[in-house]
Symmetry: C2
């Protein structure tokens, strides 16, 4: 197994290589890309202690001058202070416009590295080496980069595409199972919004809740079809003028839940899982989707070891208030992505608050 | 007098309106642009006390919900802390993707507002209302936005184009003469790098050192041809892959001088004046330009009330070291823009250090 997905954008195209056991060949991949000779690896201690050496050695033996920036682990460090640290190391090592920032990590590291790359010298090269399932299938592709504002997630950021994405699925072996499941939420999302056949394949699998329980063919399918779905959507609408918003399926309520629980009690993918359940129920309540489809979706969510209920102690009105500061608000109206069938969704800002409230109450 | 210059870019085009006495009609201009209904004016106390009320009233009477962010005046506040303040006010006022940030000020306010607009919600609308000569003819056009790093100017930033630029030359009446002259440096730059005829028009004017000494026709010419030159160059090379670099004429040495004097003893345009003198001398030393052309350039620089000498107390080796951290460094080589005739320049990284040293010594 080894395959390449192309992300085709008006201004720039790039490849996602999905290739097991190739982490230690990153240097060779980059060698072909005609980048400058300096590289800065951004990672965190957890990931760097597992995979840093391999990546560092590979880049060095391909002739790169490599520096590193190791940021603390966790969503709570996804902020401007971390970006400043990247800037400082970029300055210290005299990174130039042709130099490359390499994100070695999950979505947190990827989003921050991308934002730093987008804004250092008004944009330098950027390569993603995602190490979580979520980063592989979602955050490393499509160019959304950024950090959190103390009062809201991902409020600060830029659209900035990587030059290359290397997915080595073998690194998932060390990923905590909770993180694996969180990534599965985004995978299931692609089934619902884009690819009914892919959804059916997941439905057919007896287990989805841990890497160890998924056969290599299914893992390959999961990575390939997820990346393809994301590449397809982003290729049609890079800057989210329209259809790209469907990738936010499950994210409207999801973000609110994440933010109200401080981004630790409920992590991103878990929030998305909960958000998809809510969106499914809202769609059913509005008569847009069937009970049967909702049940199919929720069964797969449960099979991936994800919760279909709100975390205890959350106040429903607080969730509804939190929806207002989401980036997806337009002219004061909260925008929802709602399923119409398995494999298709629609975008609407016409969801009555009463229905949101009712659905959330049922999920308590 | 009232004219419109078009900036034509592959992804986006926009208009620069040069129209005296129209500051209080900004709302009407924006009303035609199909923007969201919220606007945030970013300015500083100096400028806002002079022109804020007019702009605020105009936007409000065109139906905008307007908030303001007044940052301290000065280059030393062009940093990430100021950007954070803009973010906070954007959040407080629930700015949305369709909302607009309006920069009312000089290059400092324009660069910061643009960067905040580029990075808030990954990009919201942005309008420039430049109030210095430098901002009118240079910084408000072309999409370079950003802030300084404690150790280097403009190291943090993004390319982000405005939707519209409104130039009301009448606001120049309150601009300190020192700032007017600094702006003239960029104006003269266009003559040298792009437009020999325009240069000759300036050469023919008895005075260039203060607004009061320039007749309205020449002022119109200055604004129009400068904006046109900038629009032409940026239209050919938005992201500075090639020719756009010629706009950095005078900036290689200029930036170093500015930074070593803490951005206050020598302001940007003054640095550019000094840098043009240096670049001219370097070109002459390299046999690329004539003594006669150098003299013509320097005469116009002097006529604009600008210095052709380094500020006292500057160490030449410190200047040479400072060149190394400039964004214009490529593969460790310092890049110079050097004139070959009046109206044309070339880009080179082949300037021997000895020549730089010699030229700087002569300018002490
Ligand atoms: N840019 C986008 O389009 C996009 C899309 C979705 C999510 N996101 C963002 O992604 C972030 C979430 O990313 P995430 O879920 O990858 O979380 P994460 O980056 O925090 O990683 C999760 C945890 O797993 C650890 N880890 C990572 N790889 C590992 C490995 N191979 N072995 C062992 N441990 C490993 C990390 O150190 C971390 O503790 C959020 O900030 C979210 O906003 C961005
Ligand atoms: N983005 C670009 O392409 C670009 C190009 C050139 C320069 N710049 C940046 O622009 C900045 C310099 O801009 P600047 O020269 O406009 O300086 P500035 O913005 O600091 O303004 C100069 C001074 O004039 C005051 N002022 C502004 N308008 C006034 C008015 N109409 N009446 C009275 N006072 C007024 C300001 O308050 C300030 O004190 C630098 O930071 C430089 O890096 C950017
Ligand atoms: Zn997500
Ligand atoms: Zn300049």
């Amino acid at each position: 197994m080894a395959c390449v997905i192309n992300v085709n954008l008006p201004q720039q195209s790039y490849e996602i290589a999905i290739a097991p056991g190739t982490l230690n060949t990153l240097g060779e991949y980059l060698g072909k890309l005609n980048l400058g000779k300096k590289a800065l690896i951004v990672s965190n201690p957890t990931i760097f202690s597992l995979y840093g050496e391999q990546v560092l050695t590979s880049l060095k033996s391909s002739g790169f001058q490599v520096s590193t920036c190791i940021l603390p682990d966790g969503e709570s460090y996804k902020n401007l202070d971390s970006i400043k640290k990247i800037y400082d190391i970029a300055l210290e090592n005299r990174l130039e416009r042709s130099s490359t920032m390499v994100a070695l990590g999950g979505g947190v590291i990827g989003d921050m590295t991308g934002f730093a790359a987008a804004t250092w010298l008004r944009g330098i090269n950027f390569v993603q080496v995602p190490t979580t399932l979520l980063a592989m299938v979602d955050s490393s592709i499509g160019g959304k980069t950024g950090v959190n504002h103390p009062q809201g997630k991902n409020l600060i950021g830029a659209f900035y595409q990587p030059q290359f994405v290397l997915i080595d699925p073998e690194v998932l072996q060390t990923l905590p199972v909770r993180e694996f499941r969180a990534g599965m939420a985004e995978v299931i999302k692609y089934g619902i919004i884009w690819d009914a056949e892919f959804f059916a394949q997941m439905e057919a699998s007896p287990h989805l809740d841990a890497l160890a329980n998924i056969n290599p063919e299914l893992l390959e399918t999961i990575l390939k079809l997820s990346c393809q779905a994301k590449a397809d959507v982003v290729g049609q609408d890079e800057k989210e003028a329209g259809i790209r918003a469907i990738l936010n399926y499950g994210h409207t309520i999801g973000h609110a839940v994440e933010s109200l629980t401080g981004y630790t009690q409920v992590i991103h993918g878990e929030g998305v899982g909960i958000g998809m359940v809510a969106a499914g129920q809202i769609a059913t309540n509005l008569g847009m989707w069937t009970e049967g489809a909702t049940a199919r979706q929720n069964t797969v969510i449960v099979k991936a070891g994800l919760s279909t209920q709100l975390p205890s102690g959350l106040d429903i009105e607080a969730i509804i208030d939190a929806l207002q500061i989401d980036k997806k608000v337009k002219a004061g109206k909260v925008r929802f992505i709602l399923p119409t069938e398995i494999g298709a969704v629609t975008i609407t800002d016409q969801v009555p608050k009463d229905i949101i409230r009712k659905v959330l109450q049922e999920m308590m």
